[in-house]
Each structure stands twice: as structure tokens, then as C-alpha cells.
């Protein structure tokens, strides 16, 4: 019974691709832009950590849209996306606490 319920609740591969390439890609790219200033080196001018994430944002967003569409292992990709989101949230959380 629980196996059947789990099967019913499991999103189809197509839905997963839509979610990962749509809202998840945008959300994670914004999280990367928000969290990377905390871990990147400041550089000689003191701005590298602020400029690089903003500069890379369009490229990161585009890549995160293309990857779930092209991959054959969508479940594995969803794990990577979840891990990436958690990592970014952890960096932001730690920077607020510390």
C-alpha cells in the first residue's frame, strides 16, 4: 500500500524536468549569487567576491536550465540540485549566525 502511495506521489520524469529547469534553476542561481560573496576571496580591489557571483548569474541560470533537460539521470540531477540549494542556504545561514 505504502509502495503504491509512494509511486503515486512520485513526480513523473517530465514534471521533474520542468520543476528543475524552471523554478528550481532560478531559485538556486539566486541562492548561489547570494551565498558565494561569503566564500569567495575579496581580491586586490576588495570586490571580486561581490562581482563574480553577479557576473556569473546569467551563465549559472542558463546552465541550470539546460542540465535537467539534457541529462539522462534526472533523479541524480534532482539530488545534486537539492544538495546545491542546501549548501547555499547553509552558507547564508552560517554567515548570518557568525
Amino acid at each position: 500500500m505504502s509502495g503504491l502511495l509512494a509511486h503515486k506521489l512520485k513526480p513523473s520524469e517530465r514534471t521533474l524536468r520542468w520543476v528543475l529547469a524552471g523554478p528550481a534553476a532560478l531559485l538556486i542561481s539566486i541562492l548561489i549569487m547570494a551565498s558565494f560573496p561569503m566564500i569567495l576571496p575579496k581580491g586586490a580591489g576588495g570586490v571580486n567576491h561581490l562581482i563574480f557571483p553577479v557576473l556569473a548569474f546569467p551563465l549559472i541560470w542558463a546552465t541550470l536550465i539546460i542540465l535537467p533537460v539534457s541529462t539522462r539521470r534526472i533523479e541524480k540531477m534532482s539530488m545534486i540540485y537539492a544538495a546545491l540549494a542546501l549548501l547555499c542556504l547553509a552558507i547564508i545561514g552560517l554567515s548570518i549566525v557568525v
Partner: protein, 527 residues
């Protein structure tokens, strides 16, 4: 990277769907982007101005000293000096104040001075951004640039929209590379005859492959320029600066020099300008003085790219002593990878790093990208020629594809016809909207006509409107061809020539369309 058939199929779908859904907006941004590569030239053409590389051909110190004593010290936080409207020399004395839009603005006094006589032409109080917005002479150039930058959508939403379009273009370019098996062969492909699907595909591949590096570069830099201020700054400010955007701006732009608030006077600006020109190898296009009334004041001079350089130069001098402080950067206190990349995005997106030669290349590649979008939509619709939804959708796209350039030309008419006695700011925009509505109305009236005939009619309209434009410019107080050559106003005759060439090309297309219309109709009904 070897892709299996299933992956390629999904990427082809992404390549097509993502671009087709936003095709009309992509086309508009790309077409306007191609035109506004020449924005400075269009501005000089519209205002019949001779292009001066520097506004500082006159002794500037007596004028500055005369104005400076009239302004309270509180309004000397930022002093901008440069070329103003109506060939004037513009001085703005201001300070950051809250109350403009959703943030702070530079509020203060603006003085417009006749550079030849030193006579005060106009003195106003207000926000600096408003003065720029209310400059009627620059209405046409500003309208076209705003159409490209934010599609005239107010606030940050316009930048979000064009930034997203940049990302869509980037995805189309990357997926285009991934799904293409023979990129090198497609560089030299010739269109197969017969107006078949393969012919359109050849056309799309040829334009797409040649403009591919440019598409990657332009979409990336364009998306960055849109998102940097609209999204990047607020996000970084929220996380790293507790939501204080002003603190975030200061962190990336303000140098960490010593603060000395004791009063002081500025060293002679003439001496600073002379030193700056010798150092940069180019005249200064403008200058800015920070904290002009204090002992820690800094004078910054702005210079266009010297020969062989991609980037322009900003030089900083001590206000009281005139001592050289170093090269100022757009972001950061010192040169770094981040500041270099941020400074490169502008010239690479605008194509203004190599004078007219680089601009012409950027216009040509922009035109190729615009054609790639048109041929992509054509290919998409041709493959769905039996589906009535796509038949109508393609017809709507064709109407928009003609309506946008026609409306841009109409905005030029609106500007010129109201420049002398009306309100060019209002009528430049109004003429654009009216022309779009007129095109939509005509498309409805001509709903029974074939696409060939529709193309022909719109091309005829556009061609005639373009050919008449230099005449209207001349009759509304514009500089004649003889005067333009005599006074060295290269931009005036250059844009006139381009307008006439585009008009002739459009009429030629209309005539060729007329000949094609005599051919037997295509079975699909979409051509």
C-alpha cells in the same frame, strides 16, 4: 560531447520552444540593440550636432569659480562637468538625497553655460536624473535606448524582462552549439533552392552559426548589465549588507581614501585636465569632483578608449593640490580580475571600443542575429504549416516584425515634427505607439491578403518612410548635407546615408516580393 538521440531531441525542443515563446520580444530587443549601437551618432544626427570629443576646449576655471561661489557647500558633494544640451557646458552641483523613485538621487543645481561667451544660459534646481530625462533634444536617442534596455517597462521589471531575454538568447546559443553536428560545414552552407523547409533551415543555420560567438557574448553581457543593478545588487545587499543597498554600492564603488572634512579650494581644473590628457592619451569627455568644498576632494576625469585599448580610462587627482592619485576603477579600489571584467562588459556589449569600425561590425552581427530569430520563427512555423494556430501565430509575428521598424521610423518623425514647437519627448513615444496600432489595424484590414502581399505592403511603407526621413529632418531645422560636410558633422551625413540605404533595400525587397507573388503559391501557405 556525444549526445544520444533522446537528449538531442529534448535539447532541440528547448532550443525551439524557449525562443519561440518570447520571439517577438527577443526580436524587438535585438533589432533595437542593432540600431542603438549607433546611439551617439543618432543623437548627433537628430540634433544636427558636430561631434566634439571634448567639451573642454574653453578656459573652464573662470566659469567654475564664478558658479562655485553661488552654491552652498552642502551641494558640493558631487560636481559633474561635461557637455550639456544645446551645445552648452553643463555644471551640476549636488548631493545624495532620498525621495527619488524608490531610492536616493543626486539633488542640486544645474547651470548651462555658453562655452564660447561664458554666458549663463539656464539655471535649474532638481534631481540630476530628471534633468537628463527632460532634455528634449536627446528625446529620440533616449527613447530608442530605453526601448532596447527595458522595453519601456517601468522600474526594475523592464530590466528583469530584458535580463531574462538575455538568458533565453544564451540558452538558445548554447543549445544551438550542442545540437549542431556540423558547425564548420554550416559556416559555408548555401541555401538549397525551392523555398522548402531545408532551404529555411540552411538560412537559419548560416546566420546562426556566423553570429554564434557574438550571440554568446552579447546575451551574456546584456543579461549581466540588466541583472547587475536590478537583481544582483539587491540580493548581495540583502545577504552581505543587511539589506542596505547604499552600503553595497559604496562597498564596490567608493575608494578607501582618508576623510578630511576641513574646507579647501580646488586646484586649477585646467592644470588637472592638461595632466590627465597627457596621461590618458585622449581628451576628457567629462569630469566629476567629489566633496568639492573639502580638503579630501578628488577630481576624476573620464577618457574614451585610446587606440589599441578595449577600455576607457578614469583618472583621479587630488582636488586641492592637483596631485595624481591613480587610475580609478568602475568598481573596487584597485585593479583586480573582478574590476577588469566589470569594466569590459560595457565596451563588449556596446561595441564602442574600436571607433566606427567596431560599431559597424557590431551592427552587422546584430543584424545577423535579428535575422537568425526571424528565420528560426519561419522554420518553426513552416514545420507546423498544417496547424491553424501556428499559421495565425506566424502571421502575427510577421506583422510585429514589420511594425517594430516602422514604429521606430515613426518615432523619428514624431521627434522631428515636434522638435521646433511641440513636445518631442511626448511625441517620440506617442508616434511609436500610434504606428504600432496603425500596423495592427492594417494587418486586420488586410487579413485576406497572402503573407507575400502583406510583406510587400509593409516593406513598401517602411522603404518610403525611410527615404522621406532625411528630407523631413532637413525641413525641420536640420543640418544640410553641405553644412554637414563643411562643419565636419560626419554623424549627420552617415546616418542620413544609412537611412537612405535601408529605405532602398526595403523597396527592393518589396519589389522582389511583388515578383515572387506572381509565382505559383506554396502548398503550405506559409512563406
Amino acid at each position: 560531447m556525444a549526445l544520444i538521440a533522446d537528449q538531442t531531441k529534448r535539447l532541440v525542443k528547448l532550443h525551439g520552444w524557449i525562443a519561440i515563446l518570447l520571439s517577438m520580444l527577443l526580436y524587438t530587443v535585438m533589432l533595437t540593440g542593432t540600431v542603438v549601437v549607433l546611439d551617439n551618432e543618432i543623437d548627433h544626427w537628430a540634433q544636427s550636432e558636430v561631434h566634439h570629443e571634448t567639451p573642454f576646449d574653453v578656459p573652464i576655471d573662470p566659469i567654475y569659480q564664478r558658479l562655485e561661489v553661488q552654491v552652498p557647500d552642502a551641494l558640493k558633494e558631487t560636481v559633474s562637468i561635461g557637455a550639456g544640451p544645446e551645445d552648452s557646458l553643463r555644471f551640476f552641483f549636488g548631493s545624495s538625497q532620498a525621495g527619488q523613485g524608490d531610492g536616493v538621487g543626486n539633488f542640486g543645481r544645474q547651470y548651462l553655460v555658453d562655452p564660447d561667451t561664458g554666458t549663463l544660459m539656464r539655471a535649474e534646481v532638481g534631481y540630476e536624473a530628471d534633468f537628463r530625462r527632460e532634455d528634449a533634444g536627446a528625446a529620440l536617442e533616449r527613447f530608442l535606448v530605453d526601448l532596447h534596455v527595458r522595453l519601456h517597462v517601468p522600474g526594475r521589471w523592464g530590466l528583469y524582462l530584458t535580463g531574462t531575454l538575455g538568458v533565453v538568447m544564451l540558452i538558445s546559443a548554447i543549445t544551438g552549439i550542442l545540437i549542431h553536428r556540423n558547425i564548420i560545414r554550416d559556416l559555408f552552407v548555401t541555401e538549397r533552392p525551392g523555398g522548402r523547409v531545408v532551404s529555411i533551415r540552411d538560412r537559419h543555420n548560416l546566420a546562426g552559426v556566423w553570429s554564434l560567438p557574438f550571440a554568446l557574448l552579447l546575451s551574456f553581457t546584456g543579461a549581466f548589465l540588466s541583472f547587475a543593478v536590478a537583481l544582483g545588487l539587491p540580493v548581495v545587499a540583502m545577504v552581505a549588507f543587511g539589506g542596505d543597498q547604499q552600503a553595497a554600492i559604496e562597498a564596490v564603488t567608493v575608494s578607501g581614501s582618508l576623510v578630511v572634512e576641513s574646507p579647501s579650494k580646488i586646484h586649477t581644473l585646467f592644470a588637472i585636465l592638461s595632466a590627465a590628457i597627457a596621461c590618458a592619451g585622449r581628451p576628457a569627455g567629462g569630469m566629476q569632483i567629489q566633496n568639492a568644498a573639502r580638503a579630501d576632494s578628488v577630481v576624476e576625469t573620464f577618457h574614451a578608449q585610446a587606440d589599441g585599448n578595449l577600455r576607457g580610462m578614469t583618472l583621479a587627482y587630488s582636488g586641492p593640490s592637483g596631485a595624481f592619485l591613480g587610475r580609478a576603477h568602475v568598481v573596487g579600489t584597485e585593479a583586480s580580475a573582478g574590476s577588469t571584467l566589470a569594466e569590459l562588459t560595457g565596451p563588449l556589449h556596446f561595441g564602442n571600443f574600436g571607433g566606427m569600425a567596431s560599431k559597424i561590425i557590431w551592427v552587422a552581427l546584430g543584424a545577423a542575429m535579428t535575422f537568425t530569430i526571424v528565420s528560426g520563427v519561419q522554420l518553426w512555423a513552416r514545420r507546423r504549416a498544417e496547424d491553424p494556430v501556428w499559421v495565425v501565430g506566424y502571421r502575427v509575428f510577421v506583422v510585429v516584425a514589420w511594425a517594430v521598424p516602422i514604429a521606430m521610423v515613426a518615432s523619428c518623425y514624431g521627434y522631428f515634427l515636434t522638435k521646433l514647437s511641440g513636445d518631442p519627448i511626448l511625441w517620440t513615444a506617442r508616434a511609436f505607439v500610434l504606428a504600432m496600432l496603425a500596423c495592427a489595424g492594417l494587418a486586420m484590414v488586410w487579413s485576406g491578403r497572402t503573407l507575400s502581399r502583406l510583406n510587400q505592403n509593409f516593406a513598401m511603407f517602411l522603404g518610403l518612410a525611410l527615404l522621406l526621413l532625411p528630407f523631413v529632418r532637413l525641413q525641420t531645422g536640420g543640418m544640410s548635407l553641405g553644412e554637414a560636410i563643411l562643419y565636419g558633422a560626419t554623424d549627420v551625413w552617415l546616418i542620413d546615408l544609412l537611412v537612405l540605404l535601408c529605405g532602398a533595400a526595403s523597396l527592393f525587397y518589396a519589389r522582389r516580393g511583388a515578383q515572387d507573388a506572381l509565382q505559383p503559391p506554396q502548398p503550405s501557405g506559409i512563406r
